[in-house]
């Protein structure tokens, strides 16, 4: 048997790449973010029964299985033209809220907090969750893990399994909840409300109280004037589970508001020769390249976008934070990418409050959780908000419900164009005259880490993380520096 040491930079294949090209003066001519992509999922699904999709699509991703399960279940509702009864809708949204809370707080403590709590100047080896715990204490670390665990128990309770839930069916869910379940969910939700308020307080104390950090957040390096997209409810409040898709322009004015079924009239995909990932853009504006502004079809999704497209949050505590967020950051829309970290925590608080509301709903334990489909299927489209943005599932079948075509637009794809622009802008502004320090490269990396991109799911393989490699080329195209963080 072979013995090797696993070094991501020399020994592993399949990784994310930032390629930076310098000109004769040592300034950045161009920069690209390249991501590997999995192949052939749509093809793999063809010929299978549509009702398998809620169990199959969570396997695309070990991080967002719950949202794929939701989008897929909703696509089946649409396919069979059935409305789930109210208790089923409550159960589904409850599950999605628990997942949002878990994923958002995890992101903050593992990815956002290391920059700010440990410090922008700290060596990469310390800018991680272990470094955060070193600073804030073991007790807080335990709280993070505990809050996450409780939310995952809620997902397991509802979905049968936490990683690959099995509850979603066309027209509802497979299992009703009991009063005992309610007690446990209320307990988890109360804990989540308390914990996310604590996380917001930490953000206040560590980030907002430090002028240097506020300057970094508000600085031009991390700013793009783009369109924004997200789901809103009938009052234009943020909603993760259902509603209309709203798009606002770079001035914050509503540009479009449409039903999931009409997404192809609004969203198109652009292919670049140098990356597998397809960039989405607004069809009615058109693809004008990796540029921002009103004339470019580039839009953004995820927390920053969702707060920008909405008129508020549907729960009281989150609404208070929403108002303060726009006050502090100078009004709506906020174009500063790094503000995503703050927006994410406000959403986590909303998800927690929403969880509590739904857990207390009188209809939660009503056993009527299924509307049985009777129509012949043709086409179904389901849209939800994943932690990383708007997620589209589109299925077409023959009259037996066997899939003939599948189209998925995953959340990260909607941010690919913006992420490239962010990396390019940060590289241009931070790397001057050939001077390349680790700190500068970290600041380039911060430009896209805020988006929390899904760099494909090849992370199933050891060592369990996708190495990101940054290569810098001289004007002749030769590699002058290679770095991995």
């Amino acid at each position: 048997m072979k013995r090797i040491t696993i070094d991501p930079i020399t020994r592993l294949e399949g990784h994310g790449k930032i390629e930076i090209f310098l000109d004769d003066e040592g300034n950045v001519k161009n920069a690209y973010l390249q991501v590997p992509e999995l192949r052939g999922f749509e093809k793999f699904c063809e010929g299978r029964a549509a009702e398998e999709m809620p169990r199959l699509t969570p396997k695309i991703c070990g991080v967002c299985p719950t949202t794929h399960h939701m989008a897929s279940s909703k696509a089946l509702d649409d396919l069979y033209e059935v409305d789930p009864p109210l208790p089923a809708r409550i159960i589904r949204e409850l599950m999605n809220s628990a997942f949002m809370m878990e994923d958002h707080t995890l992101h903050f403590f593992f990815l956002g907090a290391p920059e700010f709590v440990v410090g922008l100047d700290a060596p990469a080896a310390q800018r991680n969750i272990l470094g955060v715990i070193e600073k804030v204490g073991v007790e807080i670390g335990k709280k993070v893990i505990d809050a996450r665990k409780r939310c995952r128990q809620v997902i397991t309770l509802i979905g049968g399994r936490v990683i690959h839930p099995v509850c979603g069916l066309p027209g509802g869910v497979s299992k009703a909840l009991t009063e005992d379940d309610r007690t446990q969910i209320i307990d988890a939700a109360r804990n989540a409300v308390e914990f996310t308020q604590f996380a917001l307080k930490l953000f206040d104390d560590v980030v907002l109280a430090n002028q240097e950090y506020v300057d970094v957040i508000l600085g031009d390096v991390y700013k793009h004037r783009t369109y924004y997209m997200g789901l809103v409810d009938s009052n234009n409040k943020v909603n993760f589970y259902d509603g209309m898709i709203r798009v606002v322009d770079p001035d914050g004015v509503e540009f479009a508001k449409f039903k999931p079924r009409d997404y192809l009239d609004h969203v198109a995909e652009h292919v670049e020769p140098w990356t597998y990932a397809r960039c989405t853009y607004l069809k009615k504006i058109g693809w004008k390249g990796f540029v921002d502004g009103k004339d470019s079809g580039v839009f953004r999704v995820a927390p920053l976008a969702r707060l920008n497209v909405s008129d508020g949050m549907a729960t009281p505590l989150a609404q208070e934070h929403y108002e303060r967020y726009f006050d502090v950051l100078g009004g709506k829309p906020v174009h500063n990418t790094l503000a995503t970290h703050w927006a994410r925590l406000i959403e986590a608080l909303y998800a927690s409050e929403r969880m509590l509301e739904l857990a207390q709903h009188s209809e939660l334990t009503n056993p009527d959780v299924r509307t049985i489909p009777t129509r012949t299927p043709v086409k179904g489209i389901g849209v939800v908000e994943a932690p990383r943005g708007t997620l589209y599932h589109h299925y077409e079948t023959d009259e037996r419900g066997v899939l003939t075509a599948v189209n998925l637009i995953v959340a990260t794809q909607n941010n690919i164009a913006a992420m490239n622009m962010s990396v390019q802008k940060a590289a241009r502004m931070l790397i001057k005259n050939g001077e390349i320090s680790d700190k500068l490269l970290n600041m380039v990396e911060m430009a896209f880490r805020a988006y929390d991109p899904c760099l494909a799911c090849t992370t199933h393989s050891l060592p369990g993380q996708m190495p990101l490699i940054i290569t810098i080329h001289n004007p002749e195209g030769e590699i002058v520096k290679t770095l991995t963080q």
């Binding site: 399949g14 590997p36 992101h107 990469a124 760099l455 199933h460 393989s461 050891l462 060592p463």
Partner: protein, 150 residues
Amino acid sequence: MKTLIFGLGNTILTDDGVGIKVVRELKKMMEEHPEIEFKEGSVGGLSILDEIEGFDRLVLVDSIKTADGKPGEVYRLSPEDFNTPAHLINAHGVDFVTAVKLGRKLGYKMPEIIDIYAVQVKDNVTFSKECTSDVQASIPGIADVIMEGL
């Protein structure tokens, strides 16, 4: 000693699920060992923490893609062999080694003995339920190697 044999991977991603397939094979071979628990999961990072807490010994079976390995080859590794930093670029990235370190730091009972078997894959980016032929053929042999190492 309370032992967990844990297969990791995605069984619809060609060779990515080889770890799970090896563990299924081992489970068939070792039916009369009540002290050994078998688990499989398409999980990463922190979720692993939930699964391995409370065991004395962990045997992890997963796939790997190195630059110069032959498909179906197996490496026996320990957590120290992973030169990967705990610094993350996305939430997928909470790797196994960091998860264990975090677990220890927070006072959870983490396995004292950890062996990692990593099987070299040919394709882990194409959706398919079947492994490639070299990887598929290596499964019984790898199960034998792991059983001998227990």
